[in-house]
Symmetry: C2
Subunit: 166 residues, 2 copies
Amino acid sequence: MKRANPSNTKKNSEHAPSCDWRSPRNKGARDDSNRIYRYKGNFRWSGVKTEKYKQKDGGWSAISRNVLIGNQGETCKFHLRYFEIEPDGYSSLERHRHEHVVVCIRGKGKIRIGEKTYSLNYLDTAYVAPDTVHQLANPYDEPFGFFCIVNAKRDRPKPVKKISGS
Amino acid sequence: MKRANPSNTKKNSEHAPSCDWRSPRNKGARDDSNRIYRYKGNFRWSGVKTEKYKQKDGGWSAISRNVLIGNQGETCKFHLRYFEIEPDGYSSLERHRHEHVVVCIRGKGKIRIGEKTYSLNYLDTAYVAPDTVHQLANPYDEPFGFFCIVNAKRDRPKPVKKISGS
């Protein structure tokens, strides 16, 4: 099932840091081959590393990341990540040019888009347009998990202190 | 929440027909604004039309499509669709340059990638690399539903009669 595609892997390495979280630097060999990531239960996948980040500057808290598609040399123009926010956790309030597509698959949470905040329940799907201030948070008692799809090549998020328009 | 982005919408209109199914021609106004599609239950979303296709040339059968992201002027470089295959249904056997990311979210099914066939259960995630012959099928008694993420700009699928290599 191997299918190397060296002509495209260089472009893939140009992606900017992931929104809301640190850069998912590619550490493994680039390998644009077919693959299946088996779901192991408890929102974990075989072959997908769960990465945890601690709060540094008060910008975010209690989030883990699983990069399903995007860290192993895939040539597609998007990355698929699964994020999980523990109770009372939140992502940084920020904006950037690239879009977000968020699909809730575990628990429930909140998403702030511009000046409004919306609840997200199972399979609710949000589209965050370019340059929109946004933040995800979990004010509930159970983990809030969601897929977040982004462009493979994307700009660096800009932290926002206070919302000024949407 | 409106956020028009006319400079990018032109590019978006250049996408080729969707893999395995007919072209999801954009019929509505282009509108790159923030939005949330609420899950209504039974694998349907508020504001997302369920499109059904009948078999024409024996290539595919019993599939419905819901384009969550990609038909309304979104500027992201990918489209998010939910497909559902009824019992005994299947997609066409084909190949193309663009990649597929498939995430099973309803029931279970089969995915043929190259010369191999794999089962797909809840949250199993498949990456189909460029130029790989592939097909999705549902040999089970319950509906098989999955997200399929593709590049917004993608090449036209080429039907395959018989597999010759992966």
